[in-house]
Symmetry: C2
Subunit: 157 residues, 2 copies
């Protein structure tokens, strides 16, 4: 195996990183929760932490997918080289998290069912990638159709 | 006692609401943590929840004072008429929380030692009051001077 291939394995693609977030979203759905997942990666592709929205499961409105992944990554001295991966465009709360902690890049599953602050993050120098992943779109579309009030609660509407 | 006086007691002043947040900040300091406190009030002055920064105490970077107060208030169906009171100008993370959940008003102890997103919130229709409370300024000034690295970590610098 060449070192080039090893490097390739060590640095996952946006799609591969997104798979971790999708798996978290599915866990949340299986728990009866809102199916949004996220994961924080180091620059070398190491997974620092992952998580999912747990408003319903823990009756805790502060646990969005991104804040859960951020918490689960533990205390870090800096975030500039980290990548926040999330199944859905980050809301203002989670966009604020990214901006305050200078997270360098955000990979987003989709922004069709909801658009948060990702354009604002890009304006402030964050490297933003929207994958437009059909799994993410379908999962959110079905969830919102079945649970419109819960979804409105989660985004403060 | 006239009903006017009763109404006055039921609806605390910004300074009185700030006292609750200052008490939380002092609790945090006594625990060896970062002395920032917050409290979420209903429109009628009822305290919904209060909290303080617990990065150090719980090794949890996601618990800022405002997010702790928000969590401790539990799930609410709407925040438009609520008031978030905090000893320090809310960072982008906490400003994002206020904007996403449409919290109607923010009362801030001081913005001299740190200025977050409160002007941005005002631009987006949030009723922002900066009390400029000397207790808050002194507490943060002394804390930052004694713990510059911890403070930098807490605001992602």
């Amino acid at each position: 195996m060449s070192s080039q291939i090893r490097r390739s394995e060590a640095m996952p693609t946006p799609q591969q990183m997104l798979d971790v977030a999708v798996e978290e979203a599915r866990k949340g759905l299986a728990e009866g929760g809102i199916p949004i997942g996220a994961a924080l990666f180091a620059a070398d592709g190491t997974l620092l932490g992952s998580g999912h929205n747990r408003r319903v499961q823990l009756d805790d409105p502060s646990i969005h997918a991104e804040t859960d992944a951020f918490r689960n990554a533990g205390r870090q001295r800096g975030y500039r080289s980290t990548i926040m991966v999330t199944t859905l465009s980050p809301c203002w709360y989670c966009s604020g998290l990214v901006r305050q902690f200078n997270i360098g890049a955000v990979v987003i599953g989709e922004s069709r069912t909801f658009t948060g602050g990702h354009d604002w993050l890009a304006e402030h120098g964050v490297d933003v990638t929207v994958v437009d992943d059909e799994r993410c779109v379908t999962m959110m579309r079905e969830f919102i159709a079945a649970n419109p009030e819960l979804w409105a609660e989660d985004i403060g509407e």
